[in-house]
Structure formats: structure tokens, C-alpha cells
Amino acid sequence: MIASLCLILLCQLAGEIIVRALAMPIPGPVFGMLLLFILLLLRDRATLLARGPLQGGGVENAAKGLLAHLSLMFIPAGVGVVQRLDLLAEHGAAIVAVLAISVVITLLATVGTFLVIGRLMARNERPS
């Protein structure tokens, strides 16, 4: 458990260092996610890597434990609304309307693209 958490933190730390050193426009944890993904793929090819948290589902269990409580982690940032009450009193209705319309448009565009491209692919794969 501790070794698995340590591996996750190490990936984040390495991501943070690489992103900052190379002045890349992506956040450290995102790069850390890529690093962990590559590490898992490499483990399947090189048995040398399959030890500690990278064997017996160690890091997998720790990651699932974290992801199971993802909703909880948004609460401290969400409560930050108390700091922005002046701004919300002035623009609150517009901000909520903008976000709501945008989220509906985004959901429709994404689900629509997925289904249309999926169907086009299925049609092309069928022998004519």
C-alpha cells in the first residue's frame, strides 16, 4: 500500500520536474499519468520491472482506492465559492448559464461524434 502510493507520488514528482524543466504547457500530474501508463506497459515486456508495487496488483489497488473517492476531492476547491461571492453576486447568473449551456453542447457534440464515427467504421468494415 505505502510502496504503491509512493510509486504514484514518484510518477507525479517526475512529471512535475520534467514539465517544469522543459517548460511544457501541461500540468505535472497529467505527465505523471503518462509515465505510469508507460511503466505498466513496459512491465508486461520486461520481468525486471515486475516487482514491488508493480506486481500482484499493488499499484492497481492503490489507484482504484484513490479513484473511488474522486468526488470527495473536489469539495475543498468547490467551497472556494465563498471567496468569490462578490464576483458571483455580480455575474453569478451569467456564469451558471454559460457553464450549463456549454456542458450540454459539449455532451451532445462528444456523444454524437463517438456514435457517428463508430457507425461509419462499422459500415466500412462490413464486406460489400
Binding site: 476531492m73 453542447i105 456514435l115
Partner: protein
């Protein structure tokens, strides 16, 4: 026993212990209530925890800085949780690979739609420039959105609030909307949910269907990556 209960409050309200306990307690209660309603979209545990804690802070005159001294331990976990998204991506790499073309197309279209729509709408509603910039990364997980908004010179705390509001609205809207328009492909539904409304959407997708949850988690991970690359680029075009 302390003679003055007010002195005890003054002591406890300055300690991380109280605010960490409040965060976990309110969330555990809101989550139990959500379960009791059969995971009704309007019983969203993040939404109810957020306004209850915010109201409690306002009533007790507690500053957000004091609250955050305790809540930061929970907030910190957003980073490791973002790294942890590598696991659903890895475990479902075959399912992902099988649907890779529709997924990548949906990722690019969805990501651009999420950014462009919010910026154009914010301009149309006449919102100030800093507010507009803070809303731009609203579809990605809070840690990433705050990083992006800082690099844009926008307001990171407003960005975090926009992210949480977007997540909550997506989680509430998605099920009734998809049911009404008759979309039954849970891969597509989940993918759209994770892309449009990040972790809060992923949690909602897992409540509805396990396949939807996996695709939502993947969409969230990929969208964090693509949005962090595209926001700076699109903003320079849109804010001219």
C-alpha cells in the same frame, strides 16, 4: 473542562482537525443520502456538501484560508488521483484500442467544443476577460484546470469553482438527457460524461453503468492531456 466554550471554538477553528473532519463528515452524510435516494441526479453529494460547508463557513465567520488549512489534505489527493487514471486506461487498453477511432474523434471534437463554446458564450454574455479566461478549462479535473488558468494569468480559484459547477451540472443533466434522446451505447455516454464533466461526471457514470464509468475515466484522463495543450492555443485565437 474549559470554562469558556468560546475559547474552545477559537482553538479548534484554527486547527486543521476540525475542517478536515467537517469535510469528510458532510461528504459522508451527503453520499449516504444520495445512496438512500437510489443515486438520484439531484442528490449529487458534491453539490450538497459544497453549499452546506460554504454556508457553515459564512455563518461561523470562518475564512476560506482557515478552512483550507484542513481541507488541503483532501485537495492534495487530486494530483495523485490524476496519475491514478493511468490504471483504468491500462486495464482497458484493449477495449480502448477497439474503439480508438471514434474515441479520438470524440476527444478532439469534444475538447474543442468545451473550450470554444464556453469562451464564445462568456463573451456573448459580456463577462469580463479574467472571468472568461478562468472559465476556459472548466471541463477538466480541478488540479489541471487550476494549473492551466495560472499559466493564462487567470483566477485559479474561480477556475476551480467553475470546474466543480460544470462537473455537478454535467452529472445532473447527463442521465435524463441521454435517456430522452435515446442513446443506449454506454461507451459513448460514459465518454461524453467524463470529457464534459471530469471526476464528478466519472463518479456519476460509475453509478449508472460500469462500462460508462471506465470510458468516462479514460475520457477524463485524455481530456486533461489535450485540454492542457489546446487551451493556450485556442485562447490566443478566441481572445483577439
Amino acid at each position: 473542562m474549559n470554562a469558556n466554550p468560546f475559547a474552545l471554538w477559537v482553538y479548534l477553528s484554527q486547527q486543521p482537525l476540525l475542517w478536515l473532519t467537517v469535510t469528510l463528515f458532510v461528504y459522508a452524510t451527503a453520499d449516504a443520502l444520495s445512496l438512500a435516494t437510489g443515486r438520484h441526479p439531484l442528490a449529487n453529494p458534491v453539490f450538497h456538501s459544497m453549499w452546506i460547508i460554504a454556508a457553515f463557513l459564512l455563518l461561523t465567520g470562518t475564512s476560506y484560508t482557515t478552512y483550507f488549512s484542513g481541507a488541503q489534505f483532501v485537495h492534495f489527493l487530486l494530483g495523485p488521483a490524476t496519475v491514478a487514471l493511468a490504471i483504468p486506461l491500462y486495464e482497458n487498453r484493449r477495449t480502448v484500442l477497439a474503439a480508438i477511432v471514434p474515441m479520438l474523434a470524440a476527444l478532439v471534437v469534444g475538447c474543442i467544443t468545451a473550450i470554444v463554446s464556453v469562451v464564445l458564450l462568456a463573451k456573448a454574455f459580456g463577462l469580463p476577460k479574467t472571468v472568461t479566461l478562468s472559465l476556459a478549462p472548466k471541463s477538466v479535473t480541478a488540479g489541471v484546470a487550476m494549473g492551466i488558468s495560472e499559466s493564462l494569468g487567470a483566477d485559479a480559484s474561480l477556475a476551480a469553482v467553475a470546474v466543480v459547477l460544470t462537473g455537478i451540472m454535467g452529472a445532473i443533466i447527463v442521465t435524463p438527457m441521454m435517456n430522452r434522446i435515446g442513446i443506449r451505447d454506454y461507451r459513448a455516454r460514459g465518454f461524453a460524461t467524463g470529457l464534459a464533466s471530469h471526476g464528478i461526471g466519472v463518479a456519476r457514470a460509475f453509478q449508472v453503468d460500469p462500462v460508462a464509468g471506465v470510458f468516462a475515466g479514460i475520457a477524463m484522463g485524455l481530456n486533461a492531456l489535450v485540454t492542457s495543450l489546446l487551451v493556450p492555443l485556442l485562447i490566443t485565437f478566441l481572445m483577439r
